[in-house]
Structure formats: C-alpha cells, structure tokens
Symmetry: C2
Subunit: 484 residues, 2 copies
C-alpha cells in the first residue's frame, strides 16, 4: 500500500514536494487555503512528470494519488510525513504545528521547509516538540537532491534517522546539519553571494545578466560537480590544501569586498580544513581529480551544447564561426565528407572507448549533414517536411578512443521517390572503424507519414545517386552476420 | 600562418592558457624560469588534449607549435598576444611589463591573469600603459569559457575590441567589466562564499565535504546553467523579480551571516535590478524558463550519472536501491525483459521525440542487462572477458516521446561458440516502437580478439537459446530495405 504524505502550503516549494512524493509512488494530501492551489500544483506536477521519471534508469513506481482537503485535520490524516511550507513567519508556523498535532499521527515526521528558522525556534510551544524537524529543500524540489535536515536536541536520534531514511527513499540527499544556526548552511553561502551581487549592481560594476554570465560560464560549471574545497584542492596542486590556504588566505584580509569580517587563519583552523579535505578527497590523487573534473566539465558542457544554452550556446557559436558555410562539393564522383571531429570524452566509457550508441550518434549527425547538403535544411524542415530513418545497419570494425579524430564519408546507394538509401563509412586516418547503412523516408512532419520530396531536393539527390552509382559498397545490402 | 602567443609564467593558469592557444592552432612561446615548467605545462597540455578538441562538433585546427625560451625577449618575439601569469605581486608584475615592453610588438595585447589587481595599478609606470589590460581566466583555462576583460581609461576602445575578438576566437567569453575594481566581479562572489565557508568550518557547523555537498547537490547544479538572477526570477514566479526582492529582501537585513553589510534596498535599486532582469530574461516566459531550467538540470544530472559522480552518483545509488537484485526469470520460454524506463528529456530533440541514436543507446543497455543475466557481470568483465557488438540492425516502427515508458524484451536468436545473436523488441505499452538485431562476439579484453566464453556462461546462454528456438523473429535476418 502506498505511503501518505501531507503537504501543508502548496506554493512553489510545497508543490515541488507534492510532485516528488507523488512520482515516487506516495499518496499526497494537500491543504492550502489559496483558491489557486490546485492549478499551481497541477502545473508543478506537470513539470515534474516530464522531467523526473526519466532521471531514473529503472522503472518508476506507479504515481500516487493526489487529493486536496479543506481542513488541515483531513490533510494530515494517515500521513507519516507532513511537510510544512507556509510563509516564513514564526508565529504562523508555530500555530500550524499546534493545530496539526491535535490530529496527526504522533509518530509522523513534521518537517518544515523553512530556509531561515532553527528547529528549536519552531518547536517552541508545540505539544510534541520532538516530532518537528527542519527539512529545507531547493527549488525545483522534484529535481534537486539536496535537503538540509536540521534537528534540535529535542529530536530523538532514531526519529532523525527515520526522517533521513524517508528522504533518501524519495531520491534526496539529506545533509545532516551538525548544529542549528539561522539559515542553516547552503543559504548562508547563497546570502553571501546575493549581498555581494547587490553591491555590484548598486555600484554600477555589473548588470544582472553580467553577474549571471560570470557565474554560469565560470565557477557555476565547477560547482555543479565539485564544491568549493575539492575545486581548490585541485588548484593547490601537488602542494595540497594547506599550501592553497597559506597562499591565498592572506588575500582574504584585503579590503576587496564589502564584507570583510574573516576568521583568523590560525594553525588550528588551517589544520582543520586540511584534515577535512584529506578525509573528503585524499583517496584520489590530484592528477585523478583533475581528470574527473575535466570529464565532468566536458559532460556538462556538451550536455548544455545539446540544449544550446549557457556555456553550450557559446560552444555552438564557436563551431559555427570555425566551420563557416557548408556546401556540396563540386566533384560528386566520390563519397561526400559529412563529418570530421575528435571523439569527445562524453562519448566514451570508463576505459576511454567510444560507446556503441555513439557510432549511431555520429552516423546520425552525418545523415543530418547530408540532408542539409541536399537542401533539407532548417527552412525546408520548418516548412513541414523532413526525412525519418526507417532502418539502420551498423558494422563495428575497429575501436576508437577519446580524442581520436574521426571522419565520415557518405555514399548515396539509392534515391527514388520517398526513399533515400545512404552508406556511411567512418574512418580514423585510413583505418575503417565502422559502416552505417541507413534507409530514410521523406515524411510530412504534420501527418508523420511518407510523402514525396520537393522537386529541387529530389533533383539534387538523384544527381548524387547517379554520380555514386558505380562506386563499390562492400558491407552494405547484407543481413546481420552475413559476410560482406 | 599560425598566430603567436607568448606565455609569461607557466603555472596552472599560464599552462592552461598555453594549452588553449595551442589547441586552437596558435604557436605558443613560453618563458618561465621554473626548471619544472616544461614538465608542468606538458601535463596540462596532456589534460587539455584529451578534453578540449572533442568539445567541438567540427574539426579542430592543427595544433600549434610549443616552444620554451630562456629569455623574456625571445618569448615575446612575434607574439600578438602576451599573457602574464606571474605571482600576484604588483611590483613584480610592473617589472615584467617594463622588461617585455622593451622587446615586444607595440601593437601586441599584454594581458594579465591577475585575479586581484586593477589594470590601472598594473599599467602604473609602464612605457605604453594602453597596451596592458586584465584578462582574468578561470581554472581549468582550457575548458571554462569565462574570462574577465577589464580595461582602464588608458586602453583605447579599439584595443579592447581587438582583445575581446581574440579571446572569442580562442573559444572564450570575454566578460567586459564596466569599471575596474579590486578582484573584478566573479572573485568577489567567490570570496564572499569562501569567507562564509571558513566561518562555518571555524564554528563547527559543517565540514569541507558537507559544504561541498551543499553546493554540488543544490545551487551548484542551478548555477551551471543559469546564474543567480535568472534562477531567482523563476523563483519569483508569475509575480516577477520585483516581488522576489520585496519578499526576500528583508531577510538580508537579518543577522544570519557573519557579513551583514547590505545595500539599502531603495526603490531605485529595486527598479534597477527588475529592469536589468527584464532586459536579460524578459523575452522568455516564466513557464518557458522553468522548462528550459528543467531540461538543463536533467541533462546535467544525467551526464553526471553517466560519470557516476556528484548528484549523478546519488541517482545511481537510488536506482540500485529501487531495483534490488536482478536475476534471470525461471520461465525462459518467452523473450526476457531487459529494460523498463521512462524516456528522459536528454534523449529527445527540441520537439520532444526520442532521437535516433538513443534507440541504440536503449538497445545497448538491454544488451548489457542480458550479458549481466547470463553471468557476464562486473566480476566476469574484471577477469578480462566480455562481449563486443559486431553488427546491429535497427528498424524504427513508431515514435516515442519524453516521458513515454518503454520496455525491451530480448530474444536469443542463436548462441554458439564465440557468437551471441540477440533480437530486442522495444515497446510502449503494446505498441512495437523498434527492433534491434545484434551480433555480439565474446572477446578477451587483453587481446581485444575473439575467444570462447567460460563454460558456465556458455551453458546458460545455450539453455536460453534452446528455449527461444521456436519463437517467431519477424524482422530479423533481413538486410536494410528488405521487407520482413
């Protein structure tokens, strides 16, 4: 039977919690007096449905049941997790706990999404203070794993363990905070950046867009995969974390920022940081950390490239500048060059070999280039016509590694009416790595069915097919396992 | 002819510049009195060679020539870009400029990597102050696009334009800083976080590892693709940026952090921020920004998953917990279930259709699962044997979208000696989306050549092949374009 979570307050954060619980198979009972709450939560759940289930490489659980309730007592009934996300006013939150503790299961976890209050402040005058804890998530709650789990002395250790266990079960990372402080940990860092950013705007040094670029083209890319200390550990290089602090520490005392109160870098503090960094990352050499960092950065950058966003959009613009105009060669007597590139790190496995699916990725891009060359370009596609791949036959003949420069030549085996039959050969220097035989069908993007190509395109394609008619095609036209 | 850059100071930063220029086709002339400079730069260039060229989807330029020089005068000869990355001591830097200006091209750009000094401080007593500018990069310089380009009043505008143009040419994003201040822009934000983090460690609230997790599982993922303001614009929701500041602004005055000097949130400042945010992101609706953000987050998270690092390692651990033990079914009379999952956003094109190569990606994962089920698991592979795919035949029969739940059943068409012949069928509900026919060869991972499988594995495989022998296999065994 599905477990039940109650969501008290259904704004951006409460709605995000609702979506995460639902898609992890929990039944969710919402209380929110806002008449728009249903619409708002439906929109957030809609966003979560398109993004969260596919994060997993295994089957997602069946979605739970979402219900809305007119009273808090009805919403908390049967819930073993109650998430409070009402506005950040201490008196309001305390009043909410008093009401819900009259009705809820005394063993339920009552978790507050507060970004500022300490749990002891919230527990204040509660009937059962030990039942109330802070679980502070980050927007979008249905995608980001971080949740700061902040107990006070009033919470029994086994209660905190149970809360952590449930958060892990719904795919989050409960970061247990060692001592309660205002704003916990992550928001302290965020507030520091926010304040400094406000000064930069106030003083006319940078605009919001420029500050965002300073983040997303630089340290934001580092921080998506390693944090502050692991990144600086690498920067310290072979000399280590202690060296880094000793070298850069003094700069901290300079009046660079508006906010210059800094702890004394005593030997005790330096030792503590160096020891913690060793415990965190010491099992991996600096050289290996550098490679892990670079693998991650390439993966993130190329992912953003596929989305044409942020630093990925910069890379695409650079490619377009480097490549210039792309046109069909004058001499059509030979297969047509349709790709030349280095195998990127994100196309390779842990051994550095290009993975199976990336051969088809490369052939697919060669097909796209071929389509572009014969006139099936962005305008043609925008007008509602394109080619779909119907069949593919790949033969793997040799391996390629990260950094191997590969090129693809494309031969037109046949072109008639709606069909385009292509044969790609992938080389590294003169070594044949793989062949890809593809049957494509010209389609209407509206009906998603076959239709004839525009006459101009058909004419170019037939001209190439005629020019290629006499070329050899060893390895094409065969079933799997039949020798060429 | 290749252009020439001079690298003065070849540490982590100077070496990173050298690597970027070289791999972008520039000749690079290094001056660094450190006897270890050659080794250090060779290591950085090695890292860059494995990561940078593959970032591009087009052919990389031929690598330039790297030379080391015993004198600064020899290193700067013929260079049109001179990058100074010597230690952060103003007197030293000024002395370096004085020496190099005796020998360098008066039209060359002399750029300092300084993270702290203002250009006017560096230009101080130079012969030609207008030739010196700050170009502050971020480690690793060969991968991160951000470079803060900070001019002073002494730099002619056309000189600054030329510097920006060259930086763009080598794949960087020159962020032009409007007014010179100590530490420019990005490092001000970094310093603010660094100081706050030191307090958290000093006060025993969190360790280096916990602070790093607070970053890389939460806001670090947001900042790799959008910055502070665009992220908060979304958080403000339909009510907008002004609402966000008015709602959250007062919190800034609370004594949460050690660093509480904050600009007055006057109407003028709020207007400025709201107007700049409109100019930056106003062309895209909040709803669209949310989806762009989620697409980016899924792409980054799944990229990290493929690397089994950071938030991606959390997702893998979650999958393993959800899935539990994976074993061969008792009943082998039917094709074996080898995949069930939702199509993730990063497998789809801008229209939300699953891309061609991801069909093979899915079939490849089904093959991996089949290998695991017959005993070709991590231990077997670690012992030096595995299967390689020799040939693949895919038939695309229907489309799948982001979020479509797909499953794959796998049939053993034949298994004899070194060969394993598999037939995958991909379904959404009962709709057949695609078939994948694969011939795999059992290999030694040492010799990369065919060899016989271990007897236990061969026995399981033959048992399944025998059980599947009578099953239909419509669509297998045919060449491309031959009707099944």
């Amino acid at each position: 039977m599905a477990q039940t979570a109650a969501i008290i307050g259904g704004g951006v954060i409460g709605g995000g919690w609702a979506a995460r619980f639902l898609l992890m198979g929990w039944d969710v009972q919402v209380f929110d007096p806002d008449p728009d709450a249903r619409r708002k939560i439906a929109e957030i759940v809609g966003n979560a449905r398109r993004s969260l289930p596919g994060l997993s490489d295994v089957a997602a659980p069946a979605e739970g049941k979402l219900t809305f309730h007119a009273t808090m007592s009805a919403a908390v009934k049967g819930a073993i997790w109650i998430q409070e996300s009402v506005p950040e006013r201490r008196a309001l939150k305390r009043k909410v706990y008093q009401s819900m503790q009259e009705f809820c299961d005394p063993d339920a976890v009552i978790a507050s999404s507060t970004s500022g209050f300490k749990p002891s402040e919230l527990q204040g005058c509660a009937t059962r203070p030990g039942q109330i804890i802070v679980a502070h998530p980050f927007n979008p709650v249905y995608l980001l794993p971080l949740v700061e789990l902040v107990p006070s002395d009033a919470n029994p250790p086994e209660f905190v363990d149970r809360a952590a266990h449930i958060l892990t079960d719904i795919g989050m990372h409960p970061l247990r905070i060692r001592a309660e402080i205002d704003a916990h940990v992550a928001d302290r860092l965020l507030e520091a950046v926010w304040r400094e950013a406000l000064w930069l705007i106030n003083d006319g040094i940078a605009t919001t867009a420029e500050i965002d670029d300073a983040i997303r083209y630089g340290f934001g890319l580092r921080w998506a995969q390693m944090g502050l200390f692991e990144t600086y550990r690498i920067a310290g290089g072979e000399a280590g974390m202690r060296h880094f602090i000793e070298q850069f520490g003094p700069c901290l005392q300079w009046p660079w920022t508006r906010l210059t109160d800094v702890p004394d870098l005593t030997d005790t503090l330096i030792d503590r940081i160096a020891d913690q960094s060793d415990a965190q990352s010491g099992a991996v050499s600096i050289r290996d950390l550098e490679r892990i960092r670079d693998d991650n950065l390439v993966t993130i950058l190329r992912g953003l490239k596929a989305r044409d966003w942020g630093a990925g959009a910069l890379l695409n613009a650079h490619d377009r500048r480097v490549e210039g105009a792309v046109t069909l060669p004058d001499d059509l007597s030979q297969p047509i060059p349709t790709m030349a590139r280095a195998v990127p790190l994100d196309w390779t496995d842990y051994n550095g070999h290009m993975t199976e699916a990336r051969y088809l990725h490369a052939f697919g891009e060669a097909t796209d280039r071929m389509m572009h060359l014969i006139g099936c370009d962005a305008d043609y596609i925008a007008a509602g016509r394109s080619f779909f791949t119907a069949e593919t036959h790949i033969r793997h003949l040799a391996e390629a590694h990260a950094g191997t420069v590969i090129r693809i030549d494309t031969q037109v085996l046949a072109a008639a009416g709606k069909k385009m039959h292509l044969f790609h050969r992938m080389y590294a220097d003169d070594r044949l790595l793989a062949t890809g035989e593809h049957l494509l069908i010209h389609v209407s993007l509206e009906t998603r069915r076959a239709c004839d190509p525009e006459p101009a395109l058909a004419a170019v394609l037939e001209r190439i097919a005629a020019a290629h008619a006499g070329l050899p095609y060893d390895g094409a036209g065969k079933a799997v396992g039949v020798k060429g």
